[in-house]
């Protein structure tokens, strides 16, 4: 038993800076720790990791980190879906809440050096992938092709619009967007995200590629099917799993699937690993 055991359950006060509406029910919350040292320490996180957010009196919940360690600001993008997220939604800029983390394994971005990176996101599945995409673009020379396939229900459900516009127009990225239900102003592709793969002029990088897939369960199943049919290897498909971790440090048992604790062994797993865990995604 080491003498200087830290209290891993103790969150640190954080200040909400500002809130930006992304899509209906989803907002991005910019924040920083009250303590500068805390902030610097936290900022060493890796894409794909998560944090525990505390709204005292309501509860604590895990959330992906959509920002990249290379970006100056830290933020969460949260869908209002339960009591905790509702309480966060009601918080005003300047008010305080609490955060602890980062937790989890994150994406091993260094292991992917020299490879193509293919990002396939559906809906709010873009939240954890945004961190990787920004990271990859900040380390552009280490990667070969970078492709982004992003689908949402409707044009107004596409997240991180300023980023999407930037990626669409930057030379080093192939960015393809699609929506299920177009509106009058939509000129892009219509259909599920998998429909982009077979579009004329699109060639999905399959060889020497790592494919990131994040999205709702239905989308996940179909995209995986398409990717495998195109010759993607299961070990080269990566995703992040969601569970309601109460502790984030491998103790509470809530996120245990098969032989894995999602909070410490994940949340990033290869499809090869996910298949063996034996639970719904």
């Amino acid at each position: 038993m080491s003498a200087a055991t830290q209290n891993v359950y103790l969150p640190k006060p954080a200040v909400l800076e500002r809130v930006v509406a992304e899509i209906p029910e989803v907002k991005t919350f910019y924040w920083h720790f009250e303590d500068d040292r805390e902030q610097q320490e936290f900022h060493k996180f890796r894409p794909g990791q998560f944090a525990q957010i505390s709204l005292f009196g309501v509860g604590e919940f895990p959330a992906s980190l959509p920002s990249s360690p290379g970006e100056e600001e830290t933020f969460f993008t949260i869908r209002k879906v339960g009591t905790c997220t509702q309480a966060l939604d009601e918080l005003q800029p300047g008010q305080k809440f609490a955060v602890r983390g980062p937790y989890g394994n994150g994406f091993p971005m260094e292991d992917y050096y020299g490879r193509n990176l293919v990002f396939v996101a559906g809906g709010i599945g873009m939240i954890p992938l945004r961190s990787c995409i920004v990271y990859a673009l900040q380390h552009r020379k280490y990667y070969d092709r970078i492709q982004i396939f992003y689908g949402a229900k409707a044009p107004r459900e596409l997240m991180y619009m300023p980023n999407l516009r930037e990626w669409e127009h930057s030379a080093g990225v192939e960015c393809y967007l699609t929506v299920d239900r177009p509106d009058a102003s939509w000129t892009g592709n219509v259909g599920v995200v998998g429909s982009l793969f077979s579009k004329p002029g699109v060639s999905v990088a399959v060889d020497n590629s790592t494919v990131f897939v994040c999205g709702p369960p239905v989308m996940f199943r179909f995209v995986i099917r398409d990717l495998l049919a195109m010759g993607c290897e299961e070990k080269n498909i990566v995703s992040t799993l969601e569970r309601y971790m109460k502790c984030g440090v491998g103790k509470c048992g809530h996120c245990c699937i098969g032989v894995a604790y999602v909070c410490v062994d994940g949340p990033v797993f290869t499809y090869q690993q996910i298949k063996k865990l034996g639970e719904e995604i």
Binding site: L10, F56, T83, R243, C256, E279
Partner: protein, 358 residues
């Protein structure tokens, strides 16, 4: 082994000695019927402490991992947020903890203190805890029909992880120290020098005890571990086990090796919130439910599968270097659907062996 003995007349002197050293001493008492429990020894109840009795259903694990435990306090005032941890780790001695429960606490040690993150709340309580193990020697009162410590290799006499072990030899207790804290206790004059005859009697009693265990089903433990680890248990077998689960969570609450908890906040004053953790159970439907209602583990057999997989798979035994089942038999005693560990081990063994033979 340095043999020391404690005359039966000196048991209360030992309890008093511990109390004088500042320990809150917890010992087993008899309630009505089968009801037995651990309670704090006081001047009023000290002569009612029991040596031989059925092991309490409510396991002594709560003295290191309480049913409900305060973690921290948060206070909001004038726009500020102050968060202070709450530590409560009294100096405690458990007198009369059974060998299976000693193994249970050792499992909790491995789980809460090992791996990437150490649990400071558990650590603080554990450091202040002294374990005085009592070997189950009375076949009538100590050994229940559900006990299978022999199969789990945790008893009836624990080999390690206690501070001091006492074993009833008839007129006196044989005393063995397991740690330096135990050695210090043994140096006290209430303990006398033992003889070779005492050591021989201890051996005879232990050999005789082996014949008093009724639960033979769990002698298939190793087969069940193998089948579960190799993924050979069919979905149908898990479903059969699941169909008998009433989803009461009793097995997890009496288990000395279950570790799951949930965390919740409660208002304790104006602008003041306490965060507490409390035991949770994988048998309950809401255990894995997420915000928005999605629950990846819906079917009851998924959840039963989880509990037994967690306890029986080689992966987790290796991960903690100890097994999350210590053979206390409590789950077998409390389960209304008769799917305690011994039954499940037998169901898995029979179904899987038959399937393999086909």
């Amino acid at each position: 082994m340095k043999a020391r003995v404690l005359p039966k007349s000196e048991v209360l002197a030992l309890l008093d000695l511990l109390r004088a050293q500042g320990y809150e001493v917890l010992a087993p008492f008899c309630g009505r019927g089968r009801d037995t429990y651990f309670d704090t020894v006081t001047d009023q109840n000290r002569d009612q402490v029991q040596i031989h009795l059925p092991n309490p259903y409510y396991p002594p694990k709560r003295f290191v991992f309480p049913h409900i435990e305060r973690l921290m306090k948060a206070e909001r005032s004038h726009g500020d947020l102050r968060i202070e941890p709450i530590y409560d780790a009294p100096k405690r001695a458990i007198f009369g903890i059974r060998s299976c429960d000693v193994a249970g606490i050792y499992h909790l040690d491995r789980f809460f203190l090992g791996r990437e993150f150490s649990d400071i709340y558990y650590q603080k309580r554990r450091r202040n805890l002294l374990l005085i193990n009592l070997v189950c020697t009375d076949p009538e009162r100590d050994i229940g029909k559900e006990c299978f410590c022999m199969c789990a290799d945790t008893g009836p006499a624990a080999r390690d992880h206690f501070d001091l072990q006492l074993m009833d030899l008839g007129d006196e207790f044989m005393a063995v120290a397991g740690t330096s804290a135990g050695e210090v206790l043994l140096a006290n004059p209430v303990f006398r020098k033992g003889t070779d005859e005492h050591v021989a009697r201890r051996r005879t009693i232990l050999e005789d005890l082996r014949t008093h265990f009724q639960s033979i089903l769990t002698s298939w433990f190793s087969a069940a571990v193998r089948y579960v680890s190799q993924g050979k248990v069919s979905e149908k077998t898990w479903e059969e086990i699941g169909q008998r689960c009433l989803e009461c969570g009793g097995c997890t609450y009496v288990c000395p090796a279950c570790t799951c908890f949930t965390v919740t906040d409660r208002q304790v004053g104006a602008g003041q919130v306490e965060r507490v953790r409390m035991w949770d159970s994988c048998a309950l439907g809401g255990f894995t439910r997420m915000a928005g209602g999605f629950n990846p583990r819906r079917a009851v057999h998924d959840r039963r599968n989880r509990r037994f997989f967690r306890k029986l798979s080689h992966y987790f035994i290796q991960r903690e270097l100890s097994m999350a089942c210590v053979g206390c038999g409590r789950c077998a005693a409390v389960c209304h659907g008769d799917i305690g560990m011994p039954t499940v081990v037998e169901m898995i063994r029979r179904a899987t062996a038959q399937a393999e033979a086909r």
